[in-house]
Subunit: 253 residues, 2 copies
């Protein structure tokens, strides 16, 4: 028996998110099926991030256990031949049998893309959120600074969450503009349900001038979802990567 | 009666190209229908570039004649409300009644995108051509220099063309790499059927080392389609823009 770690990229457009849901197309279901067929064993992966419907990934992580004799590094290419074009494994490697992708210390990086111009661009529609009113980048950058650090992010968490501990650490939160695209890049030790999309929605309110950047600290301190901005739509969000720092069993779900 | 010029962006993925084809979804058909409904007149546009099935555009051009009282500049927004998300008009303006988008002097710019890495990326699949073997950019740049200028490009034209005069001028042909994406950008006074895709296919042969850059002049001089490389697939190609220089009735179809 060995444990294999996969890095997985996908276009979430045509899926109801990562997690298995009976009768619905999900990334996890497609990967379980392709792996089970390839290895001739019943495989169920454990994913690191259960991304929402319509959210994309360049480097989500999943692990599974197998008795296969196929070398770990070769699983990647063999699996890709059985995967559709909108899901492609980027790497496969053997890890310790007690490695759990949600229970070890890690840094996750997400990117939220906003298309900010007067008229929508068809080629950006699947991978960005179109905002036609002009956004003030500098105000957004100022607001972002208040979110960096260790805070109780309850105001930035969907009320649907079942998580009790809503304290998380944001290591880095940068906003830059390249032509018409504003990219919000955020790295943290873990994110609450919808947290990045609520941060994006709140920063957009700041960018359009309806929320002063100085209000961010009281929104954080209020620990109340209704204080923050709306949840920005899923198509703008991409999970960029997950870096595992060591094998400490710190919980950062 | 006035003549209106539209700049149109589209994602060609779900269309059988620009040009009307009975029973098939085409960009032209969607625009004619939306315009006719908006203006309450039977409208038929004349397009500048009849892009192929699967090819994209950020700035194709079309004109039509109308008796509408809607100001020319307002047609853009009103039309976009009737267009699907994968077709969006970027501007509308009145032009001279004798302005013909294919019969005046212009500069067209196309971009061909190649994803050059070992494993495909799902989010790039609709807008680039995936090439897994490493490409030598410098060899491609060297080859590109031979194509700039006024030449008979018959070797770089589909044999299906009906055009007799295969002489065209390429003003600029640059190749640059940004992360895993190689962008071939070409500006000319007009392009033959499949010309940019055959140039891309030929430069890829050069990049992979199967065709020395120094062979390009004899391929041009041979005036024989079979001498050049394959036609690269449509998804990598985007018509970036068309600049109209004056109203000379030079033919650059």
């Amino acid at each position: 028996m060995k444990r294999i770690k996969l890095e997985i990229a996908y276009d979430g457009t045509n899926y109801c998110g990562w997690q298995l849901q009976p009768g619905l197309p999900t990334i996890e279901a497609v990967i379980n099926k392709a792996l089970s067929e390839l290895l001739g064993e019943e495989i169920t992966v454990i994913g690191a991030s259960r991304t929402d419907s319509g959210v994309h990934a360049k480097g989500n992580v999943a692990v599974f256990d197998t008795n296969t004799r196929i070398p770990a590094e070769k699983i990647c290419l063999a699996l890709n031949q059985r995967l559709p074009e909108d899901i492609k494994v980027q790497s496969s490697e053997e890890v310790a049998l007690d490695f759990h992708p949600r229970k070890v210390n890690c840094r996750k990086t997400y990117e939220y893309r906003i298309l900010n111009r007067k008229i929508a661009l068809p080629m950006e529609r699947l991978y960005s959120y179109f905002v036609y009113y002009p956004l003030d980048i500098h105000a957004m950058q100022k607001a972002a600074k208040y979110l960096v650090g260790t805070h109780d992010f309850k105001s930035f968490c969907s009320v649907k969450t079942q998580v009790k501990d809503t304290v998380r650490t944001i290591y880095d939160l940068t906003i830059r503009k390249e032509e018409d695209i504003i990219k919000i890049t955020v790295t943290g030790n873990g994110f609450l349900y919808n947290m990045v999309r609520i941060i994006a929605g709140t920063l957009i309110e700041v960018g359009r001038g309806t929320l002063p950047p100085e209000r961010i600290p009281e929104i954080v301190q209020g620990c109340d979802r209704s204080l923050a901005g709306p949840t920005a739509p899923p198509e703008g969000l991409t999970l960029i990567n997950i870096e595992y720092l060591d094998n400490n069993f710190l919980r950062n779900d």
